[in-house]
């Protein structure tokens, strides 16, 4: 492996929906940790970037001039790796970003061609089983199919044609630097054959309005009470989702992918049918949303006429990030890293032959500090009691120089062990024990059924165990390269652990079969692309994409992913799950406890400190408010029988309201980037730019944990 190889980074890029045409770039630093190369900067990582300057954005840049919520675009770059000896992580080979005009082994880069294909397969896919996750796919099984009235055969071509949103592939480069994934631009469909751009004029693009006559298109300001009875609107002319976003390249030849607009659209069975119900968090039939995902490929053209293939990446377009600087205790990176370490031989000095190397010394700054920092960040999105805030602060303050035995985490007495076990009974599972074990967030699926509580990954726990026993180093001498850091930062800013189904990606991140073999030169965390035969397309009316990747199905799971295969496991529409997943009882709940815990506190703020409420001269923080608040969030308002159950607080009583108000939710950012004319402390993270208004006369102020549900309605979300 002495030749130069090329890779796209981040291996998985995360774009996020917004209802503005404008966008900012996805963060390229890790939430709450120092920005790379800026150790003294008071502004910590995790913030999106201004596409014009490349600097982190200010709070006023979260929305456009009309107040619309900007989209988060994923930026992809190509890196060259020379002098490779053998596969390693971190990469030992020398690294260089490839841009237009750069010199790579004596050759000048003339152009970088990119191909992206976005699709959304959620409606055609199967329901998500919160408690069983991937287990539901084992032994040739499937969960129940979504939208059964559209056909019982998931492979049926006409069913796929109607239920898959597919805009087709697009190619961009410095000569053709913008392409739309919308229904008007299907003639732009093209793919790369080597360095050649091949048009697909007859690409069978597909959007809901092409197949359903009576669309139900939620509109801002609609009266949701009307949505429960008489027909809402006649929508034969309305089109709803007409785009999955756009792609462009910048002057350096980097790719920018901006996704959808946060739309959801339902279809009614006929013109007299009621508005489409939306009464669950995850699996709602007769609905589409405009999230998407797909492969990102690139070819480098040199001045001398030669070209080079590149190990491609993957783009995932998902929910907005309402707290971009709050680090998850268990992130998507932690999940992927754990999978690669324990199952894909990523670092044999860490884990080999089925066991961890007890002599291995994890680096405090890479593996331990992020967990402690994330702990200290939780107060900004959740209503913690003072005792927990103090304790979390003590965790955050632990340094590499402290004797672990003297700290609040001595003996890891308060860390929940990741023992999945074989029986889901409370007698033998620390995953079913709440406080004082941390993290005090809800868990997800497991082989034993649902995990009531979140645990660190096995690798995270092993590293904590090593630290606890004084077996660690402060820092590694071998750091991640720039591209590898992008891989990590992108995933570390996303939710891990709580995959029911999650926000950014779900438990598929733990599936080894989803990835390319990293030792072939691809490097880790790179999703395997299913080869797509665009050349065979000869009919604009026949679905091109199939059912696609199926985990745990032998013969299919190793073939790679098609566009739409990463997000199809997620909630439909995503808005419903975002609305619902604030606080819940555990699942399973063998003790019938009414105690409520957080679902995704770092990713889905439940309660926040509002910048407007904050007295910059005061020592104390203001009272918290619910992140999702205002009209429609009080249980009593819409349901006379409800008794202000805390399980229902901080969310819209009607799921449908979130479909038109998600863009009104505020964003939690560090005080240093709030540019409202006041000077904020660097130590506070406050909500800005919320447009959720309305009197809250009947809503009790948030109270800190422990929260008890009860009043008979706590099971609104199962």
């Amino acid at each position: 492996m002495s030749k130069t190889i090329f890779r796209v980074h981040p291996a998985i890029g995360i774009a996020r929906v917004g209802n503005s045409e404008e966008y900012y770039l996805a963060p390229e630093s890790i939430a709450a940790l120092p920005q790379p190369g800026k150790p003294e900067d008071k502004t910590k990582g995790g913030l999106p970037l201004d596409p014009d300057t490349g600097e982190v954005i200010k709070s006023s840049q979260l929305r456009d001039q009309q107040g619309a919520f900007k989209r988060q675009a994923a930026r992809f770059r190509v890196f060259a790796y020379s002098d490779l000896d053998k596969p390693s992580y971190p990469e030992q080979a020398s690294e260089q970003e490839v841009t237009i005009g750069s010199q790579i082994q004596g050759k000048t880069v003339k152009n970088i061609k990119w191909c992206v294909h976005l699709a959304n397969k959620k409606s055609a896919w199967f329901v998500n089983d919160d408690d069983h996750g991937v287990v539901a796919y084992e032994n040739g099984n499937f969960p129940v199919l979504r939208n059964l009235p559209e056909g019982l055969d998931p492979y049926n071509e006409s069913r796929l044609r109607r239920l898959v949103i597919d805009a087709g592939p697009r190619v961009v480069d410095q000569n053709n630097d913008l392409a739309q994934f919308d229904s008007e631009s299907h003639t732009q469909a093209a793919y790369l054959k080597g360095a050649e751009t091949v048009s697909v004029a007859d690409y069978p693009f597909s959007f809901p309005f092409m197949h359903f006559d009576h669309l139900d298109i939620p509109k801002k300001g609609e009266d949701t009470k009307l949505c429960t009875g008489k027909p809402l609107q006649k929508s034969r002319e309305a089109r709803g989702i007409t785009s999955l976003g756009n792609v462009l390249t910048d002057s350096c030849g980097r790719l920018i992918v901006a996704g959808g607009y946060g739309k959801a659209v339902g279809w009614r069975l006929d013109s007299k049918d009621n508005p489409v119900p939306i009464d669950g968090p995850v699996n709602n039939d007769q609905w589409f949303d405009d999230t998407s995902d797909g492969p990102v490929t690139a070819v480098i053209e040199f001045e001398d006429g030669s070209c080079e293939e590149v190990f491609g990446g993957w783009v995932v377009v998902t929910d907005p990030s309402y707290a971009p600087q709050t680090l998850n205790v268990v992130s998507l990176f932690d999940e992927a890293y754990d999978t690669f370490v324990r199952k894909l031989n990523l670092q044999p000095d860490v884990f080999c032959n089925g066991r961890f190397n007890p002599e291995y010394k994890p680096a405090f700054d890479d593996h331990i500090k992020p967990i402690f920092k994330a702990t200290g960040q939780q107060l900004w999105n959740a209503y913690l009691p003072e005792i927990a805030i103090q304790a979390h602060k003590s965790v955050d303050e632990i340094t590499a120089n402290d004797d672990p035995d003297t700290t609040i985490l001595a003996g890891l007495a308060y860390i929940r062990q990741p023992n999945p076990g074989t029986e889901a009974t409370w007698r033998s599972q620390s995953i079913d024990e709440g406080a004082p074990l941390m993290p005090l967030s809800l868990g997800d699926s497991s082989e034993a059924g649902g995990k009531p509580f979140l645990t660190p990954t096995v690798t995270q726990y092993q590293f904590l165990h090593s630290w606890s026993n004084h077996n660690y180093v402060e820092s590694y001498t071998q750091k991640l390269g720039e591209g590898e850091y992008l891989d990590r930062a992108t995933l570390q800013n996303c939710l891990g652990g709580r995959f029911s189904p999650g926000i950014d990606m779900t438990w598929i991140i733990r599936e080894t079969a989803m990835y390319q073999d990293w030792q072939t030169g691809a490097g880790p965390f790179r999703i395997k692309h299913k080869p797509l035969n665009y050349a065979a397309i000869n009919n604009a009316n026949t679905a091109f994409l199939g059912l696609g990747w199926i985990p745990r199905h032998e013969g299919v799971e190793h073939l790679g992913l098609e566009p739409g295969d990463a997000t199809k496991f997620m909630a439909l529409p995503w808005h419903a799950d975002y609305n619902s997943c604030a606080i819940h009882q555990t699942s399973p709940n063998d003790l019938n406890s009414e105690t409520l815990y957080w679902s995704w506190p770092a990713q889905r703020p439940v309660t926040v400190y509002v910048a407007h409420d904050y007295d910059i001269n005061a020592k104390d923080l203001p009272a918290q408010r619910y992140s999702v608040r205002g009209k429609g969030t009080y249980p009593l308002e819409n349901t006379p029988t409800d008794k202000h159950d805390l399980a229902n607080a901080g969310r819209f009583w009607e799921y449908r309201e979130m479909l038109t108000k998600w863009d009104d939710i505020g964003v939690v950012v560090q005080g240093t980037v709030i540019d409202d004319g006041r000077e904020y402390s660097e130590h506070v993270y406050l909500e800005v730019e919320s447009m959720l208004h309305g009197d809250e006369p009947e809503l009790a102020a948030p109270k800190p944990w422990p929260l008890i549900g009860g009043s008979g309605t706590a099971t609104r979300k199962k």
């Binding site: 406890s593 422990p706 008890i708």
Partner: protein, 335 residues
């Protein structure tokens, strides 16, 4: 014996001083009540390190035994708060010192009970140790119910059980109800766990008496129960948040555990430098724990670092066990 450089005098173990039985109702004095309330605070503190040490010796904290004893430890902390709140409402001068472990069960004279719980729960030991039969028997004796509920004016000048003594305290509190000061140095760290009851004394004089009695009832009902045939915890005293058996009192929990297989515990390992260091750290944290307890319950204000001190104390005990060394909770009185 571990020695600390900057140890507070509070770390010198204090033997529990049993209050002299008040023979007649008309003999209650404020001093006598203060003595009783100091004893109550001391006895509640006594259980915390003893139970916590046993709890953290269990390898898997999520076992049934681990969860049950955790629920008891949490309630013993509530009991200490409750006893201190009553004591402060009556103007008691509290000083919270390290308990003395290893001798006789110091609470009361159990020989006065019929049957004598020390004959039922044998062998027992009050030395700090792992969660084993000896410790479990001791816990059963400590939480032994006041079956006969004897009148405090009976012939013996000793109290026979915690229940009997709390009954006497209730009597004394009633006779001295005019001395109650509402909102005097009251602490409330558990209100979210027990939202349906009042955990502080906010009213003065006669009006404060129901609040005093409520706290006494809470301690007794959660602890050893009222009587053998009426062991249940009333709903308002049940921990609905995370108790695996919220309706069971401590005695019922301990006697249940006595019938179950013992959980696996950490073994004591050869004593080396690491073990010595861990004991020093742990004792140092317990020193801070005592200091903060005194600050909290003598001022009614919770210091900022309360949570950190509390959690470090537990973590250090856990770290001791994981490395095969007993936690320690006092320094020699000679040092």
């Amino acid at each position: 014996m571990i020695k600390l450089v900057n140890a507070s005098p509070l770390l010198k173990a204090k033997k529990l001083i049993k209050p002299k039985k008040v023979a007649r109702d008309d003999l209650w004095t404020l001093d006598a009540l203060h003595e009783h309330l100091k004893w109550a605070v001391d006895v509640e503190l006594y259980t915390i390190p003893f139970y916590m040490a046993a709890m953290y010796s269990i390898k898997d904290q999520s076992t049934e035994a681990g969860r049950l004893i955790k629920s008891i430890v949490n309630q013993e902390m509530l009991h200490m708060q409750s006893a201190a709140n009553i004591a402060n409402a009556y103007g008691t001068e509290l000083q919270i010192c390290a308990p003395m472990y290893g001798g006789e069960i110091p609470h009361l004279d159990f020989d006065l009970d019929t049957p004598n719980p020390k004959d039922i729960y044998y062998p027992y030991s009050t030395a700090i140790g792992a969660f084993d039969i000896q410790r479990l028997n001791t816990m059963c004796i400590i939480e032994y119910p006041d079956w006969s509920a004897p009148d405090s004016t009976q012939v013996s000048d000793e109290y026979g059980s915690i229940g009997e003594l709390y009954s006497a305290i209730a009597n004394g509190c009633y006779h001295l109800r005019e001395c109650i000061q509402g909102n005097h140095k009251q602490i409330n760290h558990f209100e979210r766990f027990y939202p349906d009851t009042q955990l502080t004394i906010t009213e003065s004089r006669e009006q404060g008496l129901p609040q005093v009695n409520n706290l006494i009832n809470l301690i007794v009902d959660q602890g050893e129960g009222v009587a053998k045939d009426a062991q249940y915890v009333p709903p308002e005293y049940q921990n609905r948040v995370d108790d695996v058996q919220p309706t069971w009192d401590h005695y019922e929990k301990f006697t249940y555990m006595l019938k179950q297989p013992l959980p696996e515990t950490f073994a004591i390992e050869p004593y080396g430098e690491r073990q010595k260091k861990l004991q020093e750290i742990q004792l140092s944290h317990f020193n801070e724990f005592l200091l903060i307890m005194n600050e909290t319950f003598t001022t009614g204000n919770t210091p900022k670092d309360f949570a950190t001190v509390m959690y470090k104390n537990g973590a250090a005990i856990s770290a001791c066990w994981q490395n095969g060394v007993l936690p320690v909770f006092s320094m020699s009185n000679e040092s």
